[in-house]
Amino acid sequence: MDNLSTYLIISAILFSLGIYGVMTRRNAVAILMGIELILNSANLNFVAFNRFSGMEKLEGQVFSIFVIVLAAAEAAIALAIIINLYKNLNTVDVDEADSLKG
């Protein structure tokens, strides 16, 4: 049960669920949730590979810390953009935000 393939399979399932969410959702906040799922699945891979290649060095865990930090910065910026979008267009539907379309 507690072996590398199990973790990789769980992470693959999370990754494809995140892809599905990003492709189907129209609300920008919901797309952000899908991106969080994808980042978390990558994190799980880093930590699992680190664990099962022996734990003399913890480079995988350091990388997952960097991923968490980047996810935090990304969420803050994305929500600022979404709130601006809502102020300007009164919607967060990404299909209707097409002002730049020719």
Partner: protein, 162 residues
């Protein structure tokens, strides 16, 4: 006992992640995301990554998830009972997701993973700290500058009169 806890965690994580992407109510999606993130923190504890598990709970659950719920609350009309989010392209997207998943599963199953001799790491926090200050000092400093830039950028973007 460990296997039982592990299966429970796996089922909880995957079912709630599924609920995140299919629920039509965004608040329910956010609550399901809470369970997914807690399940992942449980996996990190199984993988002897205690510091990452704590950071996951503090940053994701305490920070990002609260931010997302704020985003849902601010950008939807509260008097609208169904804080809704419709989906589209379900057929195409599920085809694509299953395609990617099958490729990944094939690769995972077919590869002979080299397993190192597994030692239980003690004092992970001390090791992570010495990694951050020795091998990874440049990315560490870059990430801190990036966080500062993100802080200023987010504050600038969400000013009253920009």
């Amino acid at each position: 006992m460990g296997d039982l806890a592990f299966s429970g965690l796996a089922i909880m994580t995957i079912v709630s992640a599924f609920w995140v992407v299919v629920s039509t109510n965004l608040v329910r999606s956010a609550v399901a995301l809470l369970f997914t993130l807690f399940g992942l923190a449980g996996f990190y504890i199984f993988l002897f990554a205690d510091f990452i598990a704590a950071a996951q709970v503090i940053i994701y659950v305490g920070g990002i998830l609260v931010l997302i719920i704020f985003g849902v609350m601010v950008t939807n009309k509260i008097d609208d009972p169904e804080v809704g989010s419709s989906s589209r392209n379900q057929l195409f997207a599920s085809f694509g997701a299953v395609f990617i998943l099958s490729i990944l599963l094939t690769v995972i199953m077919r590869t002979e993973w080299k397993i190192g001799n597994i030692t239980q790491a003690d004092e992970t926090i001390r090791k992570i700290g010495s990694h951050l200050m020795n091998d990874f000092v440049l990315p560490f400093e870059l990430v801190s500058v990036l966080l500062l830039a993100a802080l200023i950028g987010a504050a600038y973007l969400s000013r009253k009169d920009s």
